[in-house]
Symmetry: C2
Subunit: 237 residues, 2 copies
């Protein structure tokens, strides 16, 4: 269950320093510290549900959260995986809308909840912060445009290869050609990232392994041939 354990002041928070909250004034940091709520979450717990009203934003201090939409066929399309330093739920809050997605914990997480009023106040008062948010939104839109294009124009094999490379970028240990993707995702979740059926992911991963593009170490995936995957992800056939 979700447990509130401590309340480190935001001033001392390490993950904040790599987040969009870096550069806030002392006054705003105090305001955040006073109103925030630090909560530990276990894998599988739900942060918020699609179509409910946002009451604040979530700042990830540690852990991984999947943000997804549930399609009319019941399958989950994962929009993104959020990790340390990422914010969740602010688009719905700013857009004055209900959550467009559901967010659940993928790897045990420590997350701060910042109430709506505090966040919107900082947004209104700190012009630089507002600009950082706006820029992040613009970048995210560009990413979504690419994702949409990939989704409609690439084959599943290409998209899976691309997904593995992106996971390598975000969660890879060892920078070189060989790279361990250090995050535990089920085949179903990978399917949700790619936008395909679980069986298809399983089959393609077996194929990639047979072709020495990847290796499977328990639940984790090792990228063996980054260039090979890149080649596979870029072209048709």
């Amino acid at each position: 269950m979700a447990v509130k354990i401590k309340n480190t002041p935001c001033q001392l928070c390490l993950s904040r320093k790599f987040s969009m909250f870096a550069g806030l004034s002392e006054q705003h940091l105090c305001s955040l510290s006073d109103s925030k709520n630090f909560i530990s979450h276990k894998k599988g717990q739900i942060l918020f549900y699609e179509n409910t009203k946002p009451l604040g934003i979530f700042c990830i201090n540690e852990g991984v959260v999947k943000v997804f939409k549930t399609a009319s066929n019941g399958k989950e399309q994962i929009i993104r995986l959020a990790k340390k330093g990422d914010f969740l739920g602010y688009t719905s809050l700013i857009g004055e809308d209900v959550y467009s997605t559901t967010a659940t914990i993928v790897e045990d997480a420590q997350i701060c909840f910042v109430p709506k009023e505090t966040f919107l106040n900082v947004l209104a008062e700190d012009m630089n912060f507002h600009t950082r948010i706006t820029q992040a939104l613009c970048k995210d839109l560009g990413i979504m445009e690419s994702k949409l294009t990939d989704a409609t124009q690439k084959s599943i094999r290409e998209r899976l290869a691309l997904t593995l490379l992106k996971l390598g970028d975000s969660y890879g240990v060892d920078g070189g050609e060989k790279q361990k993707i250090d995050i535990t995702l089920t085949r179903e979740e990978i399917a949700g990232l790619v936008g395909t059926a679980t069986e298809t992911v399983i089959r393609l991963l077996s194929e990639f392994k047979k072709d020495s593009l990847i290796d499977l170490q328990g639940k984790k995936i090792i990228i063996l041939d980054k260039k090979g995957l890149a080649r596979l992800s870029d072209f048709y056939g």
Copy 2:
């Protein structure tokens, strides 16, 4: 060819009043008027290319513009159709990035170009405008999340039905059950919107016609059975 014909002051511009530039101060409107460039564009002309640097933003006064990405297979994925009152290119400008898309004229257009400096200056000085931009970005992100989910989880038939309904919302005349989509798009462009092959669109449109869901009047599509299309777009089968 693109022709500069006149330079109506922004203060008097009707399409501005329904755009995000509504509510600007007299001073900022003057600044816009002084620096903008009003240009007529013919169908097929290109406003900007993917991967080039933005020098300003485009405000559509009249006409329709398609904004698309070119996939690695050469096909165009249309991200959105922009019309009167819409802005183009500001996400790349604000995000300090190259254009993520190409924009070309679909229906003869009259478009104002506002140079980077002017736009960024208004953005920096008018807090309310900045907020409107940020809110629009948040809404757009929500739309893209839905599009991505539809792209991966719905069949082409469903997506085409959905696309027709959306086109009806944006370009439909006659509000009722029967609705003429008053925009000229080629089958290839509809395919680009849906994210499929041109032949598939042609086949499905024939099928929809046979099923009395739509009618084809020259190049234009008449929606005959909105409920039928909605049913088709929501569920699997």
